[in-house]
């Protein structure tokens, strides 16, 4: 439906126009008005559970959750007030009270600092509202990738929702209710025995570090600052954007780029966790050729390439051009693929060229 009249709300005293379906939170964000959140992830359907994003709307008695409230024409909205700020502080003190402590290493995950940052911003007294702790860490899940440190869980269910809505795996869910809720797989088993694909998205959306990247955490005590370098995952043609985490020029972890055009925060197990080869002792640092005795020994690129070219020539001579078959790596960019098919077609005169990632 196209409406000739433009729709406006008043946001903190300023008139702002909006398009149908926009939530108050989205409008505020567009206006660069900061509203605190914990259960929100822009990629997921708004859930409305942490209630931190509450705003006052004229004519509505209680504050409303801005993440789930759609704007309607003429709404008068205040994103802050002394009452709202007090509620936010009390809520943060309540949340802090359910966990053993709040500070976690940023290597745990992309969003792991969210709770700690808010607690600091609001100068929330983490010792107030003391009582029973919620969530129980799953110590026995011995998978090498994901730490399930639910002692730190605040039941925002971002992990459950990202697994369902983004990854489509539905591997994890919510057991029990109330203060006894607990993130779980079917029958409370390990991730390995579930439909988890170890994509790591739950880790990266977790706002407390309760789900954490075990591989990156190996470097928790290494000296040096964490440096982030934007790059592209080398594994396949999708080209997911990643931020490489390094300490003292050593690669220590990978995080998905939330603004990556191909992946928008998603990665698969390879891009997320399989980076050990980069600094592995067994990784080739120079070309190798076999000597007379059939053992591999180091050599220069010239000698190695000559040896390869000789091999191709020999095959052509003995078995003909149809004995040559080129398979390009799924990790190559398009330009390299082009070079490869040129090399096979023009160089050997055959159309036997393929790419391993066409499955």
């Amino acid at each position: 439906m196209v409406s000739s009249q433009s729709s406006n709300i008043t946001l903190d005293g300023e008139p702002v126009s909006f398009s149908a379906g926009e939530t108050l939170y989205e409008i505020a964000k567009r206006q660069e008005t900061i509203i605190p959140t914990l259960c929100y992830d822009p990629r997921l359907e708004a859930f409305g559970s942490c209630r931190l994003c509450m705003v006052e709307v004229d004519g509505i008695r209680n504050p409303v959750a801005s993440c789930t409230t759609k704007a309607s024409d003429g709404m008068v909205v205040r994103t802050t007030s002394p009452a709202i700020e007090k509620h936010r502080k009390v809520l943060l003190e309540m949340v802090a009270s359910e966990n053993p402590d709040i500070a976690v290493d940023p290597l745990r995950g992309y969003a792991s600092q969210e709770l700690g940052t808010l607690v600091d911003d609001y100068r929330a007294d983490t010792g107030r509202f003391k009582g029973r702790q919620s969530g129980q860490s799953f110590q026995d899940d011995d998978n090498p990738f994901i730490l399930r440190d639910y002692d730190r869980c605040i039941s925002c269910y971002r992990c459950v929702r990202v697994c369902a809505e983004q990854e489509g795996d539905y591997a994890i869910n919510i057991r029990n209710r109330g203060f006894n809720t607990q993130i779980t797989t079917e029958f409370s088993g390990t991730l390995k025995d579930s439909s988890c694909t170890f994509c790591g998205q739950c880790v990266q959306t977790c706002p407390t570090g309760a789900l954490a990247d075990k591989k990156a955490m190996r470097a928790e005590n290494d000296p040096g600052e964490i440096k982030k370098t934007r790059s592209v995952c080398p594994y396949c043609g999708v080209g997911c954007s990643v931020d490489l985490l390094s300490k003292d020029d050593r690669l220590v972890g990978v995080q998905p780029a939330m603004d990556g055009p191909a992946n928008q925060g998603a990665l698969c197990i390879k891009g997320q966790f399989a980076f050990d080869f980069v600094q592995h002792n067994d990784r080739l640092g120079s070309p190798l050729i076999r000597n007379e005795a059939g053992e591999l020994e180091k050599t220069s690129w010239e000698i190695a390439l000559d040896r390869a070219a000789d091999g191709f020539r020999e095959a052509m001579k003995t078995h003909g051009r149809q004995s040559i078959y080129g398979v390009a790596s799924g990790r190559t960019p398009s330009e390299a693929d082009y070079m490869m098919q040129k090399f096979i077609r023009a160089g050997f005169g055959t159309n036997q060229i393929d790419n391993c990632s066409r499955a």
Binding site: L91, I174, F187
Partner: protein, 559 residues
């Protein structure tokens, strides 16, 4: 995965039914006494629900067990009234049979209810446990005219014949012959009938919204979850006048254009389940349900579904999720069920009492219904009265009746030698009233002026022998147990308030204690996502208001 032949027939029988999941799970739970891993796996593949999701959903419900002895182990009510009547001892006495506690099971007028499989027993100790019918509501002493209870004492009223012989289904007959759907809507709006399930929303307005909303099929859902502690009125209606509810639903369907209906009945009412099943069968045989009702082109099918032990499933969004087989969290509002209800299509969710009033209103007219109230108030309200009172039970009061009249003239006042210290409103959700505030009239504006609300109409009486902090602790423990765990203020707040009322945690300085409890309560009331978390702090707020001395004594007593 391959479904075992053993389980396949049950799954196939349910697969194509609307609101299948609860039906399937109960069928297996009844067959085996618990839900085994193999069954859960088969149901997940049969109904195409992700396994982890199904597992999580099952753990949400109190009464679904996943291991023996399961269903056959006794469940003993430890609700607020039963714990005044010795439920802790009874629970202990049944421990060797694997007994566990359950929240208020809706029989506070005849405690203590114990569930054993499909048997609803009651008794105050092991020896006296027996299966007994729901107590029949007593007539009021002033012979004040009733609406809902007017015919409930007629023998055989629960059967089709008895119902028909006492004027039943005449309203539907009349409607089908003489009225258009919009006339029915108009009449309901005029009557000023408002929701009796707690929120008090005008019924005519709700139905009109459903009638006007786009999308089909529309649904009528009868909310018979009655989970509020101290409320047992819907049970009396369902057991003695089930056809009145069915007739109310048929009228609602005609007015709104709904083609299907559901009765969502709480697990703790197995007797009502059997009675309703029979009533639905009778009404179908008499062609009041199904195709071509009254010889007209009017089709309405009615499905009975059982809950599985979750107070929050009485909240309409949570109820709809439960019916749809989803995790029963409440839904964000708006949108409301009138436009996005069952399967995201227009749905009228109405309480049992609301629906039972409808045939009477249609038969006798909106003016008649309005005139039943006192002063400017319209209609009647059922009150479930329990606790420290001579004659507990269900009473139908004219709205606006003084509380004192109900307590002393109708229900005989406190037990001999005792005086009334406090009463609850809305079961537990309205918190306590005490002192001068007992001089209220029972109507929405008056009760709200005291910071409470009438809700579903449960009133629990506490006499002067009771420790109100202990009562408040029991109440808050209920809310903590029943919090769904979706939103932060309620999930954490109900737990922290319970701990403070039990002195398991929290400050020992009364100033700090009050500040903490008040801050938690204020934030819960303002920011919780549904009525449970908004209402729970009424307990602590009213405790602080009326009983500051008991609170101080509680906080300062040496541990």
């Amino acid at each position: 995965m391959k479904i075992s032949a053993n389980n396949e027939s049950i799954i196939d029988q349910w697969k194509e039914e609307p609101a299948a999941l609860l039906g399937v799970l109960h069928a297996f739970h009844d067959r085996d006494g618990y839900l085994s891993e193999a069954v859960i796996r088969d149901v997940a593949s049969g109904l195409k629900i992700p396994l982890a999701e199904l597992y999580g959903t099952i753990t949400f419900y109190h009464h679904f067990s996943q291991s023996p002895p399961g269903q056959s182990a006794p469940r003993v009510c430890t609700g607020p009234v039963c714990c005044l009547n010795g439920s802790a001892q009874l629970l202990n006495a049944l421990k060797d049979q694997g007994a566990t506690a359950m929240a208020c099971a809706g029989r506070c007028d005849d405690p203590i209810p114990v569930l054993k499989g499909h048997h609803a027993l009651r008794g105050t100790d092991n020896a006296s446990l027996e299966e007994k019918a729901t107590p029949l509501p007593a007539r009021n002493p002033g012979n004040i005219e009733e609406c809902i209870f007017a015919n409930i004492r007629i023998p055989n009223r629960a059967k089709f014949e008895g119902y028909r012989d006492s004027g039943g289904y005449l309203a539907v007959d009349k409607m089908l012959n003489e009225m258009s759907p919009s006339q029915v809507l108009e009449l309901m709006t005029q009557s000023k009938l408002a929701g009796r399930g707690g929120a008090g929303f005008p019924t005519g307005v709700k139905w009109k919204a459903v009638a006007e909303a786009p999308g089909n099929p529309k649904s009528i859902v009868c909310n018979a979850d009655e989970g509020e502690p101290g409320c047992f009125k819907d049970r009396a209606i369902l057991d003695y006048d089930p056809h009145a509810v069915i007739e109310g639903m048929i009228i609602a369907a005609y007015a709104t254009g709904a083609a299907q209906g559901f009765i969502y009945l709480r697990y703790e009412y197995p007797q009502s389940f059997a009675l309703l099943e029979e009533a639905i069968r009778e009404a179908s045989e008499a062609h009041y349900l199904g195709d071509g009702i009254g010889g007209k082109e009017f089709r309405f099918t009615l499905h009975l579904r059982r809950g599985a032990g979750a107070y929050i499933c009485g909240e309409e969004g949570s109820l709809l999720n439960s019916l749809e087989g989803k995790h029963p969290f409440p839904r964000n509002r708006p949108p409301f069920p009138v436009t996005h209800g069952f399967n995201n299509l227009p749905t009228a969710v109405n309480n049992v009492e609301t629906l039972a009033a409808v045939p009477q209103i249609l038969a006798k007219g909106p003016e008649w219904y309005q005139s039943l109230g006192l002063n400017e108030h319209a209609g009647t309200k059922l009150i479930s009265l329990s606790g420290d009172i001579e004659k507990p039970g269900n009473y139908e009061i004219p709205i606006g009746l003084p509380l004192r009249t109900l307590l002393y003239d109708w229900a005989g006042g406190p037990k001999a030698g005792r005086s009334i210290q406090a009463v609850t409103m809305a079961g537990l959700s309205g918190g306590y009233l005490a002192g001068d505030d007992l001089e209220i009239t029972l109507d929405d504006p008056c009760i709200r002026s005291k910071g409470s609300f009438p809700g579903a109409g449960g009133i629990i009486v506490y006499d002067d022998s009771r420790n109100m902090v202990e009562a408040a602790h029991e109440a808050m423990a209920f809310f903590a147990e029943e919090s769904c765990g979706k939103c932060f203020p309620c999930r954490i707040g109900t737990e922290r308030l319970t701990e403070r009322l039990a002195r398991d945690a929290g400050p020992t300085s009364i100033t700090d204690w009050n500040a903490e409890v008040d801050d938690i309560g204020t934030t819960m009331m303002a920011t919780s996502a549904c009525g449970l978390g908004m209402a729970a702090p009424n307990i602590t707020k009213s405790l602080a208001k009326y009983f500051p001395d008991q609170v101080t004594k509680h906080v300062q007593k040496s541990p």
